[in-house]
């Protein structure tokens, strides 16, 4: 699903996603970023910079498609909602 993301941009040009916001306004902190690489999503389609993240204890992938569009592979229910 597509999400809004709070992103920290460093002066070296890298971006660190900090928090995501779902379409209903709920926000979730990103507890940890375990890695980042360019990849295709095998679960939901699409490609981009893939961040392996931990959100509320759930490991999932957060994708930066470019032009400000981000999506997560996990479904909303995965975060206990």
């Amino acid at each position: 699903m597509y999400v809004d993301v709070y992103v920290f941009h460093t002066s070296e040009g890298s971006s660190l996603p900090l928090k995501i916001r779902l379409y209903n306004g709920q926000t979730f902190e990103i507890d940890r970023i375990k890695g980042v690489c360019r990849a295709a999503s095998t679960k939901v389609g699409g490609t981009g910079m893939r961040y392996s993240v931990v959100i509320k204890g759930v490991e999932t992938y957060l994708f930066d498609e470019g032009e400000g569009r981000w999506f997560v592979e996990a479904r909303r229910e995965a975060f206990g909602m």
Partner: protein
């Protein structure tokens, strides 16, 4: 010195991009079709499940659906194709700066100097194939060989998601039994000529008498003979360096077959808008105009004519193209697609010998007009200046990515 050339071909490119973006399409027959809303939409691309039902590129949607009732028809997303084409080239250029695109979904790579860094060519091919699959979710077929022609042939032999090596010391066993039409440059008409001389396979072509080939096919015959014998010295262009332009052309398939001269004229005029601008961009003028027509049976015909005064003017090129069409097309069948091409390109401002009755002044005014229109379009958008007739409803497909014809290749 032996070269290591790769030819990377993205499998079922349009259809694969659609299936990658929407995983619900995976495993079911899918066809990408122009203008789904229109009854006359045609199949632009299909995936393997659709191919298994016999769905073919170029056929009408209703034909495809009658072969494959469960066919999912999706609209093309040209911006995505352009994006993924560029991303794939980006991956290739991590390995070499010699990446030469051939259409949207194919590239040649010269990886001769990669060996120390990444290993032998088939290993590099495998790394590239895996990288494209991992990063873009798309599969490619890679041909590995010592020249461009065999590399391209190799990428066709095993699909999808595969690497095929055609090595210098064993290419004869590998490819001499294949039909001659598998070779780049052997189109349907060439194939017929070759068949007339009992040349069926690439091996037949390699062992044919080059003088006989030249007498039947001209320069192209000699080139094919060299190709079949593994003698193709043409180099892979460096990134950003395009091969010398031999022709500039633009073609389209309309959303509905054209049925009269009145349908054809606006299409030709629209096509030449782009042709004129591209010529001016590269500072060349057309010395001749070619028009290529495909009828509803998908039979192609091409006619060409020289221009007495080289030009970039859309009106001049369109008039010449339409003149050819009008004089030669007999309207036995409706027209499916039209391409307007230019040839004998000469640099802007090159000297030429006008004939007594040529209106040089008018020609010069038209050139200035073309530049002026380019300028207005650059500043105010492509549709800020239009020929009146092009504002009428037409059979042209909606705005789409440019389709650039491969240059210097026989049709």
């Amino acid at each position: 010195m032996g070269r290591n050339i790769l030819h990377c071909d993205m499998n079922n490119f349009y259809a694969s991009v659609e299936c990658m973006l929407d995983p619900s399409l995976k495993g079911i027959p899918v066809a990408v079709c122009g203008s789904v809303a229109e009854r006359h939409g045609i199949v632009l691309a299909k995936n393997y499940p659709a191919k298994a039902y016999g769905v073919q590129t170029g056929e009408a949607v209703w034909q495809a659906k009658s072969k494959c009732p469960g066919l999912r028809v999706v609209e093309p997303h040209y911006d995505e194709y352009v994006k993924y084409s560029a991303l794939a080239r980006g991956i290739y250029s991590r390995f070499t700066d010699m990446v030469e695109p051939y259409g949207m979904d194919e590239c040649w790579l010269d990886i001769t100097s990669c060996e120390k860094l990444f290993g032998p060519p088939e290993k590099v091919a495998d790394i590239i194939r895996e990288t494209v699959k991992f990063e873009l979710g798309l599969t490619i077929s890679v041909g590995v060989s010592f020249n461009k022609i065999f590399a391209k042939l190799g990428s066709d032999l095993k699909k999808p998601d595969a690497v095929t090596v055609i090595a210098e010391d064993s290419f004869k066993e590998k490819i001499y039994g294949l039909p001659a039409s598998d070779l780049v440059g052997v189109g349907r008409s060439t194939e017929r000529v070759l068949a007339g001389a009992a040349i069926k396979t690439i091996g037949d072509l390699a062992s044919a008498d080059p003088r006989m080939l030249a007498s039947k096919l001209g320069k192209n015959g000699l080139a094919l003979w060299n190709f079949a014998n593994g003698r193709d010295e043409s180099r892979v262009a460096r990134a950003g360096e395009s091969p010398p332009v031999k022709s500039v052309g633009h073609g389209t398939t309309t959303v509905k077959d054209m049925e009269s001269d009145g349908d054809v004229w606006p299409v030709i005029l629209e096509l030449t808008q782009d042709v004129g601008r591209r010529l001016r961009d590269i500072k060349m003028m057309a010395g001749g105009v070619a028009v290529n027509v495909r009828d509803s049976n998908l039979v192609c015909r091409q006619w060409r004519t020289p221009l007495s005064i080289p030009s970039t003017s859309a009106e001049v090129i369109a008039a010449a193209a339409f003149g050819l069409f009008h004089a030669r097309y007999r309207w036995e069948l409706p027209v499916r697609s039209i391409t307007v091409g230019t040839f004998n390109l000469v640099p802007e401002g090159a000297a030429y010998a006008p004939r007594l009755w040529d209106n040089v002044e008018l020609a010069e005014r038209r050139e200035r007009l073309g530049h002026c229109i380019d300028d207005i379009r650059r500043r105010f958008g492509k549709n800020s200046v239009r020929n009146c007739i092009l504002c009428m409803p037409s059979t042209l497909p909606p705005e789409h990515a440019e389709i650039v014809m491969p240059t210097g290749m026989p049709c």
